[in-house]
């Protein structure tokens, strides 16, 4: 049977199609989130089904996750991104005991038990501080592609001190730093370090290794090393980190196939 997971996030909708027996990934898609979130989610799954001559009826079970999960009306059930990311990481990196996920509009810390269950979690979502949206703003302001942030940060000689983590105020601060002669490389390094510090504050004093890093921001080169530097521990970016939530949702769909999972 085929199952699917949809992660309807704030910046992108991700979908994963899975063989429910082998748990082999049959395909995945990513679309920018739009105004009509349900339609975008449907388009994401259609991208996977149509080329295979399949339709919604051929999918045994669909789990939706992400902040817009409740808008995905064609899903069979919804499960939070906390549980889905834990499941996705467990599948890819069974040894992980801590998961750091930084998405478009929030960041999360999950502590996992030996069997992969979530023991505890914390979220930062009061504002865009330490999220993908924050990095997008910085990249836009400095006229640098997101994918080059890490490369540029590595060239920094004197990373700038970024005191404000509010997107609006940080923008003002960056303008001030540029006006003061700071180079983009130093500003970017300062921003990555500030985001990492924010996440480290959420981690607290008890960090269990290995640490897995997921979410769209994990794709930004240099973010993992910034995190590792602040945490003082190695941080492993899982494969296709942007897809981890959707993958976890698909695995939970496969496990469930109509049975209540939780």
């Amino acid at each position: 049977m085929i199952c699917a997971g949809i992660d309807a996030g704030s910046r992108a909708v991700k979908a994963v199609l899975l063989d429910s027996r082998s748990l082999a990934t049959l395909g995945s898609s990513v679309l920018d989130q739009g105004v009509h979130q349900d339609r975008t989610a449907f388009a994401a799954i259609e991208q996977l089904l149509a080329p295979r001559g399949l339709s919604r009826r051929d999918v045994g079970w669909i789990v939706a996750t992400g902040y817009a999960r409740n808008i995905v009306e064609f899903a069979d059930t919804t499960i939070t991104e906390i549980t889905c990311h834990a499941c996705g990481v467990r599948h890819q990196m069974p040894s992980a005991r801590t998961v750091i996920e930084i998405g478009g509009q929030d960041s999360k810390l999950l502590r996992l038990a030996d069997d992969g269950r979530v023991r505890d979690f914390a979220m930062n979502d009061r504002c865009a501080a330490g999220t993908g949206r924050f990095l997008e703003m910085v990249a836009g302001k400095l006229e640098v592609p997101l994918g080059r942030l890490g490369e540029l940060a590595a060239r920094a000689a004197n990373p700038a001190a970024i005191s404000s983590m509010c997107v609006v105020f940080a923008e003002t601060e960056i303008i001030g730093l540029l006006a003061g002669g700071a180079c983009p490389e130093d500003i970017i390094a300062g921003v990555l370090g500030a985001i990492a510090s924010r996440v480290a504050a959420m981690v607290g004093r008890h960090l269990e290794e290995p640490v897995a890093f997921t979410g769209g921001v994990a794709m930004v080169p240099g973010m993992d090393s910034a995190l590792a530097g602040v945490l003082g521990r190695p941080v492993t970016v899982v494969n296709y980190p942007q897809m981890t939530g959707a993958l976890g949702a698909a695995i939970l769909a496969a496990r469930s196939c109509g049975q209540p999972l939780v």
């Binding site: 906390i82 979530v118 023991r119 505890d120 607290g204």
Partner: protein, 458 residues
């Protein structure tokens, strides 16, 4: 028995008409809940209520408190505002026959219930208390606009080891021309090995010398009350007042035991929150409050016996720490698949019986010093751990009050102790007076903690 359910305000009004037609005789403050909406309590339209007549009575009792206070003023009764100590001075004041006590701190719910329609927070803003302070700053706005309660004849307020934010707000209330009788609460400490100690009602141990200090401070409150009432507040009168308080506390204790342990849950979280708050000051009517609680307890008993309730069986059993500024979040917990199984809303000392085996002022001092806020966070965490065991909770939600410095300081400590001692998942959230914009993220967190609980059951 009507099938227990949670219903909307609109549904309640229809149900009220049906109940009235069927012969329901409500109390003097009764009536359809919808009428409070017309008074500006706009949040009510977004809440879901228990459908029992007992719950209707509870809500009507709560929402008519301002009417009672203004009527008391008209009737010439002395009105005392009892601030911050959350339960002790109210017992003293209400021991006097012609005195009505109320709890100005309760104004912190006005911005929620009226959805900012009262502008009390804006008034507080204009007086220098912005959103970096606890929502209890609404009390300052309420004193300034005089619309929510009459000007008290006497204001008493504990200070010292109690909440600093509150003390700051209360000082500004005093500057508005409301003289306050301040009484000092020492920081409760653990007694030294060779120091005479007293066991407090919450189980905490305190040095006898600290109890004596509080007794002396409450003695000043007693004198002020006597002067106000023009009569002596003797030990016999106080003992009778304590006995009445203990009766109400006993009813609430049994209600909590049932509501937090019966399966399925017999009384929803929102009604339990209101019921617990009632015990602080009886909603300004010490005779009616126990009757309201007794009716709710009778309903809980009926439902527990019949194994029915407004929530599905199997809900995740959540222990809740700190009161929420937005009532809607208690509904949300249940929408997400959880149920209340125990609370520590910063006034667990008011849920305990006041000692009856010692002189009344000594008993009141012990009760006041048992306040969870005036001692180490470790004590509070120990108490929470004990209650979690009592009610069988499976996870803990620590609800921070934005701007309340004690929450920021205590939350992590308490969560850490619970996690270490009991191995339970702990979730910290922050709930502002109107959390509408945060509902999606609050929902995600609460749904996630429910998922974690249910996964642990497997």
């Amino acid at each position: 028995m009507e099938k227990p359910a949670k219903i909307t305000l609109e549904q309640w009004d229809a149900r009220y008409a049906h109940l009235r037609a069927g012969g329901l005789v409500g109390p003097f403050y009764g009536g359809p809940l919808g009428r409070h909406l017309a008074d500006g309590d706009r949040r009510l339209s977004k809440l879901r209520y228990d459908n029992s007549p007992a719950a209707l009575r509870l809500w009507n009792f709560l929402l008519t408190e301002d009417d009672r206070l203004f009527a008391a003023r008209q009737a010439g009764r002395k009105i005392v505002g009892v601030m911050k100590d959350l339960g002790t001075t109210a017992v003293m004041a209400m021991s006097l026959p012609d005195v009505t006590a109320f709890y100005p701190d309760g104004a912190w719910w006005i911005p929620c219930v009226m959805e900012h329609g009262s502008c009390v927070l804006e008034v507080a803003d204009s007086m220098g208390l912005d959103e970096s302070f606890c929502p209890v700053r609404a009390m300052l706005g309420a004193f300034a606009n005089g619309e929510h309660f009459p000007r008290p004849d006497l204001l008493v307020c504990s200070a010292g080891a109690v909440c600093d934010d509150f003390s700051a707000v209360a000082q500004l209330v005093e500057h508005l021309g409301n003289p306050i009788l301040w009484w000092e609460m020492p920081t409760r400490r653990h007694p030294a090995a060779d120091e005479p100690a007293v066991r407090l009602p919450t189980g905490f141990l305190a040095p006898a010398s600290q109890v004596a200090i509080v007794r002396g401070e409450l003695g000043r409150v007693r004198e002020a009350l006597e002067e106000l009432a023009g009569r002596e507040l003797d030990d016999a009168t106080l003992a009778a007042g304590i006995a009445r308080a203990n009766h109400a506390r006993g009813v609430l204790d049994e209600l909590r035991r049932l509501a937090y342990s019966a399966e399925p849950c017999p009384i929803p979280a929102l009604e339990m929150l209101i019921a617990e708050m009632l015990i602080i000051h009886y909603c300004s009517d010490r005779d009616e409050a126990p009757a309201v609680l007794e009716e709710l307890l009778a309903e809980a008993r009926r439902r527990a016996l019949a194994h029915v309730g407004p929530l599905p069986a199997g809900a995740a059993r959540i222990f809740w720490v700190n009161p929420v500024a937005d009532l809607r979040v208690m509904n949300l917990l249940e929408d997400c698949g959880g149920r209340l199984c125990g609370t520590e809303l910063l006034f667990c000392h008011s849920l305990e019986a006041i000692p009856a085996d010692c002189p009344p002022m000594e008993a009141l001092a012990r009760a006041a010093l048992a306040d969870p806020m005036v001692g180490p966070a470790q004590d509070r965490a120990e108490r929470i751990c004990a209650d979690i065991g009592r009610f069988g909770a499976e996870a803990v939600v620590i609800s921070r009050i934005p701007g309340a410095s004690h929450c920021a300081l205590e939350g992590g400590l308490i969560g850490g102790i619970i996690g270490k001692r009991l191995g339970l998942p702990v979730l910290e959230i922050e709930v502002p007076p109107l959390s509408d914009s945060m509902m999606p993220t609050l929902r995600t967190r609460l749904e996630a903690i429910v998922e974690v609980v249910k996964e642990r059951r497997r």
